[in-house]
């Protein structure tokens, strides 16, 4: 029996294209369920996270051994992601309603989604793009993918800030060599939305 990983395209460009297509399809599918309430949001979030994680694993991504230094770098990155919009953004604040109860379930599903997004985007996709076109292509394309995947839910207004966040998270990946740092930064930024 041929395993999924064994049948995965070996060319870096092919791998990147497959991952992008899978990410796009998953993001579109998820957006179709927006507006269905809290329970649906948890179910869809879990399914979305597991789908992305499966794609990343199928493409060859494996979690590396966790290093405390990477987590520290990730915490700094998270502070930057939260702090800059707080410090230099407008004071007018809109609430987009991401405080679903119960809190622990929200934390768990958010952590799954974040880990999966980072495994796919800054893990599998960035590695494939780096192998195919070098770091500049990898950073640019993975950041664009990160921004576009949010458009179906948040609208085009999200593109500038998510492009920026995508670049920052890609930088953390290059700096530390793994996905732990961008995952930690991303998780902190998402957790902060409960309070901000």
């Amino acid at each position: 029996m041929t395993s999924l990983a064994a049948s995965w395209p070996t060319s870096a460009w092919h791998r990147a294209a497959w991952l992008s297509a899978g990410l796009g399809a998953a993001a579109l599918a998820r957006s179709a369920f927006i507006g269905a309430g809290t329970v649906a949001a948890f179910v869809v979030g879990t399914t979305f996270g597991l789908t992305l994680l499966s794609l990343a694993v199928a493409a060859g991504w494996r979690p590396a051994r966790l290093r405390l230094g990477s987590l520290g770098v990730g915490i700094v990155g998270g502070v930057i992601l939260i702090g800059i919009p707080e410090l230099v953004g407008p004071s007018s604040r809109a609430v987009i309603g991401i405080r679903p109860d119960p809190f622990l379930a929200w934390v768990a599903v958010t952590a799954l989604v974040v880990t999966a997004e980072e495994a796919l985007l800054r893990g599998a996709l960035l590695s494939a793009l780096d192998a195919a076109g070098g770091p500049a292509v990898a950073v640019a394309a993975s950041s664009v993918a990160f921004a576009l995947m949010h458009v179906p839910v948040y609208g085009w207004g999200v593109v500038p800030i998510d492009l920026a966040a995508g670049a920052l998270l890609a930088g953390l990946r290059y700096l530390t060599g793994g996905t732990a740092a961008p995952t930690m930064a991303h998780l902190l930024a998402d957790m902060a939305t409960w309070w901000l």
Partner: protein
């Protein structure tokens, strides 16, 4: 310094600069939109179409002054996300002599007047800020208040409109954080709603528009609209990539 760490530092620096630029240019602050679980409850109508939820909430917040000036204000209805919000900085309002507190209220109302073109999507909301004596407060010159109105789920091509006392005016509209949230930095309070222009967009519930709409009857055939176009573009690009890769991959396996 290795190639990898150099790329890391350069990318982080670029990311920080982009983040500053994006935050500065954003007309309305909202929580970092890097993802997570996105919850949006079904829209609540003041006059619900058959099978759709009714009983939209109202809100009224009383706030004491902050060292003699109006306090920072956030007020939002109780749906998830709120169907109407208003946000004002500290010292945004002109206060009549003797003012000790202010009351900010948001409530859904029946449309005060029909619209000439298009249709109202969802409820009309009345935004007001008064002092303890009930006197309407107006904004100080040069200040604005952010008004955010949510349209029914997935209505993505709306524009905010404001009732000027006799007719509706379109106001500059920004994205409020989700596809169907609309925001504007307004200089006056009053009645606001989301206008959907043209006849091409059906109510996402699939129902006829609420009875107060006087615009053209929406087409029964969903077609590409301004708001849906990005979805279609992304979907088509993803599908094209998928087909191309499938074709190439399967082709590679030919003997």
């Amino acid at each position: 310094m290795t190639r990898r760490s150099r790329a890391g530092w350069l990318t982080i620096a670029a990311g920080v600069l982009l983040l500053v630029a994006a935050a500065r240019l954003s007309p309305v602050w909202h929580g970092p939109l890097y993802d997570g679980v996105v919850v949006e409850d079904p829209y609540r109508y003041l006059e619900p179409p058959p099978g759709k939820p009714g009983n939209p909430t109202s809100v009224s917040d009383t706030l004491t002054l902050d060292q003699g000036v109006s306090p920072q204000l956030y007020s939002g209805t109780l749906e998830t996300p709120p169907q109407a919000q208003m946000i004002a900085d500290r010292d945004a309002f002109q206060l009549p002599t003797g003012t000790t507190s202010i009351k900010a209220s948001i409530s859904p109302i029946k449309p005060p007047a029909p619209i000439a073109e298009g249709r109202i999507s969802g409820n009309v909301y009345r935004f007001s800020v008064v002092n303890q004596a009930g006197a309407d407060l107006s904004l100080l010159p040069g200040t604005t208040i952010t008004i955010v109105v949510r349209a029914p789920n997935n209505v993505a091509n709306g524009t905010l409109i404001h009732f000027n006392g006799t007719s509706w005016d379109r106001v500059p509209t920004d994205n409020g954080g989700l596809m169907d949230l609309y925001a504007t930095n307004a200089t006056v309070l009053g009645d606001y709603a989301v206008l959907v222009s043209g006849a091409q967009t059906p109510e996402p519930s699939g129902q006829a528009p609420p009875s107060f709409s006087i615009g053209p009857t929406p087409s029964a055939t969903p077609g590409p609209t301004g708001g849906q176009t990005p979805w279609l573009v992304i979907g088509l690009v993803a599908a094209a990539i998928l087909v191309a890769v499938l074709w190439r991959t399967l082709g590679d396996r030919e003997p």
